[in-house]
């Protein structure tokens, strides 16, 4: 045990000079205002992380060009959760230690649910640009907001289209067993009850890539349309394999599949034609075209992903909220955002008591000529 004194000394030293908590952002010092960004920066959903970081960066740069907030420059701190619910609280903890004022994120519902709890406990406002699971805001945490829609708005939109517009008789439903995918698929199934017969309902792991056993069942079920609650990185091989085994019925999916031109539509090619998705009506948003033009100019012609605008909006709301609250204190900031109205590319934005956004409805899009096009409400 002759190492003991050494260990004791090391531990004491660590207490003094370990990974330091950053200086408090709320103390009103002359330092920068830190905004946290958390989402799948790496991993299979890195495209989403890219949108998240790009959108936030744009908002930050625009505000910094105007002189920052409360006279202080803005800085963003990015942490990666790899779309893994296990890593989300770790990333959240790191952002809390960095003393960020607010957080844009996370992306996936399964990550947002535990992480936003941590932010809320630490008195930090978080705005998710993309998590649609009802539970995110149904907990009524005062400092948790979202700028996208909810699955209980999205799933009726999908179900109504299947039942009323397509007049489908038989439907199959797949999900990827994540909080997002399963929540959405269950919602669609609930909404179809009594209207359309759901002949097959299956869930598989989000790492699954051989779908033939499920697709054989799907083929036997002989459906008019099949719904997949999941993310584009799995939807692409799923749809490719479905076309290979000769399934011609269209796939329908949610916002996890919508808008990934390079990673979904281009990969699947001709097989993607006719694929239906539910998404917010971005084309109808007043400032969308202008936003896309600004985005392309800033990122050298890169196409914005579906959630780039929502990430930009989340960051803008956060910064405008700080300006309105005249403080970086989380509780005051949360109250200010609840009370405020924001004029953004996505339209006029206000929040209800739960922290849900009061604008935008889901519409159904179809892939036609290799592009998403709105087909109806």
């Amino acid at each position: 045990m002759r190492w003991t004194p050494l260990i004791v000394a090391a531990l004491l030293a660590a207490a003094g000079c370990g990974p330091k908590d950053a200086p408090a952002g709320g103390a009103g010092d002359a330092g920068t205002v830190k905004i946290g960004v958390a989402g799948p920066v790496t991993g299979g959903q890195a495209k989403n992380g890219e949108d998240l970081v790009d959108g936030t960066t744009m908002a930050m740069e625009e505000w910094n060009a105007k002189g920052g907030v409360l006279g202080r420059k803005i800085e963003i701190v990015v942490r990666d959760d790899m779309a893994d619910p296990k890593l989300a609280p770790v990333a959240a903890g790191q952002l809390v230690d960095q003393k960020v004022v607010g957080v844009v994120g996370h992306f996936n519902s399964g990550s947002t649910i535990p992480a936003s709890e941590i932010y809320n406990n630490a008195g930090i406002v978080s705005i998710t640009p993309a998590s649609t699971n009802e539970f995110v805001t149904d907990r009524k945490l005062p400092l948790v907001f979202r700028v996208c829609g909810r699955d209980d708005q999205q799933s009726p939109a999908a179900a109504n289209y299947i039942a009323d517009v397509m007049k489908a008789k038989r439907v199959a439903i797949f999900n990827d067993k994540t909080a997002y995918g399963k929540g959405l698929a269950d919602g669609v199934e609930r909404n179809l009850k009594g209207r359309v017969e759901v002949v097959l309902s299956e869930g598989f792991d989000k790492a699954e890539r051989n779908f033939r056993p499920y697709l054989s069942k799907l083929k036997d079920a002989n459906v008019d349309v099949w719904f997949f609650g999941g993310i584009f990185e799995q939807a692409a091989p799923l749809l490719l394999q479905a076309r290979q085994v000769g399934i011609t019925a269209p796939m329908m999916s949610g916002d996890g599949v919508h808008g990934y031109q390079k990673d979904f539509i281009d990969k699947v090619g001709a097989g993607a034609e006719g694929t239906l998705t539910t998404f917010l009506n971005t084309e109808g948003a007043p400032g969308y075209a202008a936003f896309v033009a600004r985005y392309r100019a800033r990122f050298e012609g890169k196409e914005p992903g579906p959630y780039a605008m929502y990430s930009y909006s989340a960051a803008s709301i956060l910064l405008a909220g700080i300006e309105q609250a005249k403080s970086t204190d989380g509780v005051k900031l949360g109250a200010a955002i609840h009370a405020g109205t924001y004029d953004l590319p996505m339209g006029k934005v206000t929040f209800d008591a739960k922290g849900d956004v009061n604008s935008g409805g889901y519409v159904v899009w179809v892939v036609k000529g290799g592009r998403h096009t709105v087909v109806g409400k």
Binding site: Q94, G110, I118, N121, K177, T178
Partner: protein, 420 residues
Amino acid sequence: MRDRIVRLLVATLAAFLLALPVASLRGNSSTGFTIVWTPAFVTAAMVLVGGAILFAAVEAQRRGTAFWDARAATDSAVGRRRPCAAQAWTLGVLVATVAALPLLGLPGAWTKLLLETMVFATIAVGLQITIGMAGLLVLGHAAFWAVGAYTFGLLTVHQGWNFWIAFPAAGVAAALTGLVIGLPALRLRGDYLAVVTLGFGEAVRWVIKNEQDVTGGDANLPGNIVPGSFRKPMGALGEWLWQPAAVDGRTFEPGTVQALIDRECYWFALVLLVVCVACVHLLAKSRVGRALFALREDETAAKCMGIDTTRVKLVAFMASALWAGLAGVVPAVHRGSINPEMFDFNTSVLFVAMVVLGGLGSITGSIVGAALLWMLPALLANWFPEVQEYRYLFFGALMAAMMVVRPEGLFGGARRKGAA
């Protein structure tokens, strides 16, 4: 010297050539092949540096000037010497220092990291019983952790049990699970057992994931109740211990709740670890412990000596599952929510790595192994945020290199026959 430089150059060249196809070659269906040189050069450079470190370490080892003196550190290895008064005293100082850290202004980041490390250390020390002592390789230990965490979560949230009843219940549930999986283990040996425990671990995770109505599945929720309420229904004692001002969400003081929870969980985890170390130490010195060591060295011989191998194996399984189950309570309280993905195969492998890297049969080793494997990636991310994407690459290389340099583990004693 020249010889070594030549070997290093050869290694770099080999690494470069090996890295070339995967690192540089991009096939694209529209543009054909493109070659990107940078990644291959970066890899070669990394291998050069890593190789230099490794060669230096191996050389140092070979010359008998091992940079780590194993003997000195293995004093507390199980079943060696009786702890003398001086040892007890130094241990006491160590524990007291660790306990005092949060009061001395330990930053929140460290509190969390150390708290998690202590949870992992508890599990690793418990796993030492099956792997280190009995020589049974378990690749599904995370399942016991999961059983403990979910038992605790469901009992407190759904049934409203008191914390102090649910806490031992979590341990008992995990131990019973250990009994169930221990039964087939009686017939299986080595890697057959390993793969059965692997399958078992995955099966438990899938049950949790699929039974969403009860466990909340992937959505983290215990049932349909707010994750934060894990902390609420723990009865009077629990309230006194865990309940800071108000977790209602609307009336708290910003930033204080999480800090309080962190600190209280920290002390709880420390006590758990100390008790676990004491128990495992006593077990190792007991009749059963001796029987386990005998089992590891030679099962047939142990049987011939009159050891009831069936009973002893079951005890090993149950005891190590018990500690994992008890340790499962801490993340449930601390994180406020649990998710089946926390308990996947990688986690089980991490536990085994902690035990093996620390040294089979050494309690100190398990704790150090847990500290290294859990804290290092987090610290790397913190120290070098610019290259945090590379941290697992570096970490994996370090793990392999450490095993090559010290195959018996950091605190492993003289070479012994290991598990499997």
